[in-house]
Symmetry: C2
Subunit: 427 residues, 2 copies
Amino acid sequence: MTPFRVGIAGCGTVGSGVVKLLKENASLIEKRIGRKIEIAFVADRDTEKVRKLGIPADKTYNDGLKALSAECDAVVELIGGTTVAKRLIEEALKRKKHVVTANKALLADFGRDLFFLARENGVSLKFEASVGGGIPVIKALREGLVGNRIKAVYGILNGTTNYILTEMTEKGIDFETALKEAQRLGYAEADPTLDVEGFDAAHKIAVLSSLAFCRWVKTENVYVKGISDLTPLDIEIAKEEFGYVVKLLAISKVTDGNLEVRVHPTMIPEDHILASVNGVFNACLIEGDFVGETLYYGKGAGEKPTASAVVSDIIDLALGNSYSVPECLFKEEELKISEPDEFISSFYLRFTALDRPGVLARIGEVLARYNISIRMALQKGRQIKGAVPVVMTTHPARKREVQKAIEEIDKLDVIVKPTFVCMIEEL
Amino acid sequence: MTPFRVGIAGCGTVGSGVVKLLKENASLIEKRIGRKIEIAFVADRDTEKVRKLGIPADKTYNDGLKALSAECDAVVELIGGTTVAKRLIEEALKRKKHVVTANKALLADFGRDLFFLARENGVSLKFEASVGGGIPVIKALREGLVGNRIKAVYGILNGTTNYILTEMTEKGIDFETALKEAQRLGYAEADPTLDVEGFDAAHKIAVLSSLAFCRWVKTENVYVKGISDLTPLDIEIAKEEFGYVVKLLAISKVTDGNLEVRVHPTMIPEDHILASVNGVFNACLIEGDFVGETLYYGKGAGEKPTASAVVSDIIDLALGNSYSVPECLFKEEELKISEPDEFISSFYLRFTALDRPGVLARIGEVLARYNISIRMALQKGRQIKGAVPVVMTTHPARKREVQKAIEEIDKLDVIVKPTFVCMIEEL
């Protein structure tokens, strides 16, 4: 069989990993699939980096678009961002090359157009590495669970925040300290916004949602809240008093016929397997009507795991397996996206109140008026600058009502600080 | 596109599940893949059962072999066993029908011949449901991790034994009591041998090993030890004193260039995610050179989860994705299978000794003579009929030496009962 020729645009961390994998495991791959994978070109502005990987000069380009003139069967886009990368993918698809990408931001914002373009040109756009690093979660969802009506997807999809939350939980340190440690170890960027504010996870859950629910979901459809206002106090109370662990959970599920897509700190039961996903590891729980709960776990980032995912897409294409996204995504969209106000969830509420008799009653009165039913309540003896934390968990309630109740409660004279709110998923 | 026509032979638990899935989710599947899956026939000795599922009389057969005369693109074998099922698969392959099976026993013993036969006839033999029920672990290993050199596979692959071990651990009850409870709940068969003695897990790890290591592995290549001689005492000591949880682990890994394939009660660190896999759930940890550790978790048995896996194979075939086993399995075999005597592992040893001074020294002397290095040792005060448990964990040692040392120690006059031995995996 003729070799499958693949061009790689972008030779940063992941691109280098892909080149290394394709070289180191070349004979293993050929033995397994009965076909050789050949590197047609590697393009990067820094051609020196490409040379150091042992790519010959005639296959080295300083510009991905120029490299497209080289003969190849598929192009791997590992440039990142949504400008140059987008143009490169469009150009490659128009030239009827299959494309493999790890670019979740691009897919979340422009996926629809790109997949339509791929379809028009009779080629495939694959994206295993865009979610969950090396974990083959796209393949599991798209192919392994293809017979299931998907009920829900719950993901710990960002290693940086999961590392920070694990450190905060295990060591009782605050967010800033844990973030600095993560930066020191290279798990967090100098500007950590994309990770800690939940946008990276939002891109990923948008991609998963589109696959799971046959409805294009964009970043703007995702309710996003980051982890920067979490305190060790809430993490400790959640665990010690209520048996919950706090995770930055990406959630996508159908409620009352509408699709809820959200990323926010979430309290989950400590004995659920998702609660055991610690450090930089990622995991994704997918629930289907026939299969029940399944979970996929592994390293969600890094040169080598991400390269593993990219190469699985390349090999799929080399084997002629071009199924990329469900056909129904090219039909009309039916499922409505819920407004955040409409979310129904149990809540953890920490009020900061003056240590006076009757506080619980006054808070309770407001909650009752908004039909919010308290599940557990406790008043801790600890003094925080003369005030005490009053903590409650609620039965499922609509977010809108909870917000209104909190606004009202926060105006009470016994409340000295804005109330901390966190959603709970019983899973 | 023309419908993809599938015939189902065997309409027991899984067969019924497949029929239900294909009916209930028919329009969902068609929307996703752009092709209709049509039931060409359902064959079962009990045709009344088939009728109750709403299959018309002209598509109902009382014999799978006879049904093969019906027109279809793929045949699903869900008869079980290694006689009729084998004949049916052979006949279907010879008639150039793709085959989907959930039959791990058959694959573990006769897989090689069947895959060669499929290849000769230019069709595919798919088997996602043979391991891990609904978890798409075959697809993950074969396709998702295809670029990786696989270092090890560790699986909790039998729900019955995992349920029993979870109950023994959480409630401190003995094996017999937990088994009765499992039987009452329908998690264990009246004759539980296949599950509790490890043979079911052995079939499954044989299948996974063949995929992972490009070498046909049969049941007879697997070292198997069941869980029936485990006591709550060892489970408790392992957890309380050493931080280990006991699981029936199926292990496949390359050590010193040889392949070790084994199923036995194994102590694993309680903070490893595999230790959180409880009850009837299954999980499989796959370690690749690029991807690192990945884990796949879900329900390992039952009508609906297994049907989900069978249908994923059917849909793969309908989409033209016929990749089934690595090409290298059709070449010469290279990897040697290790003899159990050669396994290197850490060990947990519980001696039952008279409560006399010098016992530890005498045991230690024998172990030292066999070059077995003690990691931790403790003597519990409890009296078991006048004797005390003396418990040790060792550093990695060769199984042969450990067995010889134990034989010698068990002959000492201070030892009153055969020593309990359990392997440890640090993971």
